[in-house]
């Protein structure tokens, strides 16, 4: 009997937590469509009189930052996979002296505060184009996820499959293409989604590395929060969330075990 009660209480507590986490977002989303009188005045005056105006206004001013975020993600996702996945596979299937060490070092960037990394990158590579530094910063925080997700996936499939293919005459390249990659595809897709979600929302490194020409959308979000009115800021927030929510749903759908493994520290 007590088991059932504790169980119910636990589920209720979890539901309360979920609600508490969702409420601010819902309230803010509603703010984008709110009447100005409720949340305070709009300070964009005559230019923003209706809801579509809001989104047009945000896109007009911050379109550049939005584009830059898209470009960065488009660069970071393939790079993270290209750098992280082969290494992760190697850690499990082709270990070499120091591979354990390298694997744990790959996780260390998560413990480096973004501000410190950004500052040191500027100090050391000030003349490198900001875009490249941004990509490097994002990679530092997303590679650990790729490594974790792919190593966990490699651990789950039968280690005899690849040598079997080899013994049947396939070259290393063919084996990779026709055995390994298909087996790893769910993990690769999952990693890609995780990297996307993290890179899209990255602020700590991006804000310090931003310039008026090269800034990411989260950095632009900060400016809307401070210099634009609430409905405009809320609209910008919605634009930010738009790609992220489907990505997260996809992660959940694909998710289950693989998702949680990707997150395990």
């Amino acid at each position: 009997m007590s088991t059932a009660i504790v169980r119910r209480a636990g589920i209720a507590a979890t539901a309360v937590l979920a609600l508490a986490l969702l409420t601010p977002i819902v309230v803010t989303a509603a703010g984008a469509f709110s009447r100005a009188e409720w949340y305070g005045r709009r300070s964009e005056g005559a230019e923003v009189q209706s809801v579509p105006d809001l989104f047009r206004y945000v896109a007009g001013i911050w379109g550049g930052a939005l584009l830059r975020s898209v470009e960065i993600v488009a660069a970071v996702v393939p790079l993270a996979l290209a750098i992280g996945a082969p290494a992760a596979w190697a850690f499990r299937r082709r270990p070499f002296p120091g591979s354990r060490l390298l694997e744990s070092i790959a996780l260390v960037p998560l413990a480096v505060p973004g501000v410190a990394l950004a500052f040191s990158l500027i100090q050391v590579a000030g003349h490198t184009p900001r875009f490249a530094l941004l990509v490097a910063g994002h990679l530092a925080y997303t590679l650990p996820m790729v490594v974790k997700t792919v190593t966990n996936a490699v651990e789950t499939f039968d280690p005899r499959l690849e040598p079997a293919a080899r013994s049947l005459g396939a070259t290393g390249w063919e084996t990779a293409k026709r055995v390994t990659v298909p087996l790893l595809t769910p993990a690769l897709v999952l990693s890609a989604l995780l990297v996307f979600a993290v890179s899209w929302g990255e602020f700590n490194v991006s804000f310090l590395l931003a310039t008026p020409l090269v800034q990411t959308f989260p950095a632009a979000l900060y400016v809307t929060y401070t210099t634009n009115s609430f409905p405009v800021a809320a609209a910008a927030t919605l634009i930010f969330l738009a790609p992220v929510v489907p990505a997260l749903l996809a992660i959940q759908a694909l998710g289950g075990e693989a998702f949680h493994r990707g997150l395990q520290a």
Binding site: S2, V6, R7, G10, I11, A13, T14, A15, L17, L21, T23, P24, I25, V27, T28, G31, Y39, I83, A87, A90, F91, R93, I105, A106, V108, L110, A111, V112, P113, G114, V115, A116, L117, F119, S120, L121, Q123, V124, L139, A140, V147, G172, A197, V198, W200, G201, N204, F207, L208, P218, L221, Y222, Y225, V244, V245, L248, E257, R261, Q264, A265
Partner: protein
């Protein structure tokens, strides 16, 4: 045999080479340079200045304290939901999990903004409470240290729940069943079977949430008034005062303390 082992290792090393090169070029080298600048000549003076009593040391101490408190509390609050999500089946479980994991992608500024929406001077909560009770409770709470702490919790809870859930999922069901047959109630099972097994996972979750809090910049940027944290000071020194020496020294101390705690917590795990 030895030859194929060597070839296998060589292939492995080759595949992992880009990762190694990236880590050195984009992380190790810049950080080493940061340390070098800070610990040599005029930089050393800046480090002493940072560690001496005053604004910078306060910022470091504030960061450490706030991050430790947020990490500890979020892990504590996460244990229950994580256990439920991992071990129990019920309708709506996936929906709950999706809802809880959504804030994982939010940047700190977004979390700060959400707090202001809820509990700023004209936040939704004071407005509603004002209408209901005539007193605008929690007015401006977002800008207090307590408000900042709540924001950090919001920032960390999804991470803590998801990380712990992974770990709890791996617990062998047999242990659970065995304990149940021996008459242990769910709470006892949690305390005497679950938690000891979970100790490494709890430690590493603490490490992850602590590191994320230490590095968090956006939340404080939006919310903090008088209470300052280290990343904020690095930013201010860098952009406002052009004081690269102090900014560098502070950034180094921030990175060093975060990594040290992280390693300490992760020690002894696998």
């Amino acid at each position: 045999m030895t030859r194929s082992l060597n070839r296998s290792s060589a292939t492995g090393a080759l595949l992992a080479l880009p990762l190694l090169v990236f880590l050195i070029a984009a992380v190790a080298w810049p950080l080493a340079s940061l340390a070098g600048h800070a610990l040599s000549g005029p930089g050393w003076g800046a480090v002493r200045q940072v560690l001496a009593a005053g604004r910078y040391r306060t910022a470091l101490v504030n960061s450490l304290g706030l991050s430790a408190a947020a990490a500890f509390c979020s892990v504590l609050l996460a244990v229950g939901p994580a256990w439920i999500l991992a071990r129990e089946r019920f309708p709506g479980r996936d929906a709950l999990r999706t809802a809880i994991s959504l804030p994982l992608t939010f940047s700190g500024v977004l979390v700060g903004f959400l707090m202001v929406v809820l509990m700023g001077r004209i936040g939704v909560i004071p407005e509603i409470l004002g209408v209901l009770t005539g007193r605008r409770i929690f007015e401006g709470a977002a800008y207090t240290v307590a408000g900042l702490f709540v924001a950090y919790l919001y920032f960390e809870l999804p991470r803590a729940v998801m990380t712990l859930e992974s770990a709890f999922r791996r617990f062998p069901r047999e242990l659970d069943l065995a304990a149940r047959t021996l008459g242990a109630g769910p709470l006892q099972r949690l305390l005497r079977v679950g938690l000891p097994l979970a100790a490494p996972a709890l430690r590493s979750t603490l490490a992850v949430t602590f590191s994320a809090s230490m590095g968090s910049f956006g939340v404080a940027l939006i919310l903090s008034r008088r209470f300052t944290v280290a990343p904020l000071e690095v930013y201010t020194e860098m952009t406002g005062y052009l004081n690269d020496e102090v900014a560098g020294a502070l950034a180094l101390m921030l990175a060093f303390s975060t990594m040290a705690v992280d390693r300490l917590l992760s020690m002894g795990k696998r």
